[in-house]
Amino acid sequence: AQTVTQSQPEMSVQEAETVTLSCTYDTSESDYYLFWYKQPPSRQMILVIRQEAYKQQNATENRFSVNFQKAAKSFSLKISDSQLGDAAMYFCAFLEYGNKLVFGAGTILRVKS
């Protein structure tokens, strides 16, 4: 079974600064999908960004980008120009066979004004 590890239970960032959230995973598959989901307090979880393993290029969505290192099985999320609305729990996830998303334990991101 695949495992996803988020080693940072909590991170803080100053508004307008950049922060990087770490994620590592373990798999024997060669082609797979990785995701970052955001869960704001008392609100629905939403997809932030998606990466397909066979694509060399790192995914980018506006202020959000990933650093995908396939050989190292690392998938970090970089948030640039942090905003107060970015404060949330962030989950890294791996799509396993059978449409099963395997989530990491999550990282709480606090944004300071």
């Binding site: 629905q44 799509l95 059978g98």
Partner: protein
């Protein structure tokens, strides 16, 4: 467009009771997923339904069960509740059963407390 809706939002049960949680997916979505988010344990995959059939099941005992109706809505049933079943139960839907996109649309969850 309405998002994924879940009911009830909060409920309190006692050990040994049974509970049914309900989920309505986004219109046009055929796949429904259930996840358990217990404190300190992250999200754990429970069930995946597509076109009325159970397609995959997580590592949970048989007292966790569910079904998907012809209109694609879904129920999650938990029998013989135990204290450790206290959690936020999240329902999600996706446009199709293809594993490639992986984008799930989540509801706000049903918070279950077992006393």
């Amino acid at each position: 467009e309405a998002g994924v809706t879940q009911s009830p939002t909060h409920l309190i049960k006692t050990r040994g009771q049974q509970v049914t949680l309900r989920c309505s997916p986004i219109s046009g979505h055929t796949s429904v997923y259930w996840y358990q988010q217990a404190l300190g344990l992250g999200l754990q995959f429970l069930l995946w339904y597509d076109e009325g059939e159970e397609r995959n099941r997580g590592n949970f005992p048989p007292r966790f069960s569910g079904r998907q109706f012809p209109n694609y809505s879904s129920e999650l049933n938990v029998n013989a509740l135990e204290l450790e079943d206290s959690a936020l139960y999240l329902c999600a839907s996706s446009l199709d059963s293809g594993a490639g996109t992986g984008e799930l649309f989540f509801g706000e969850g049903s918070r279950l407390t077992v006393l």
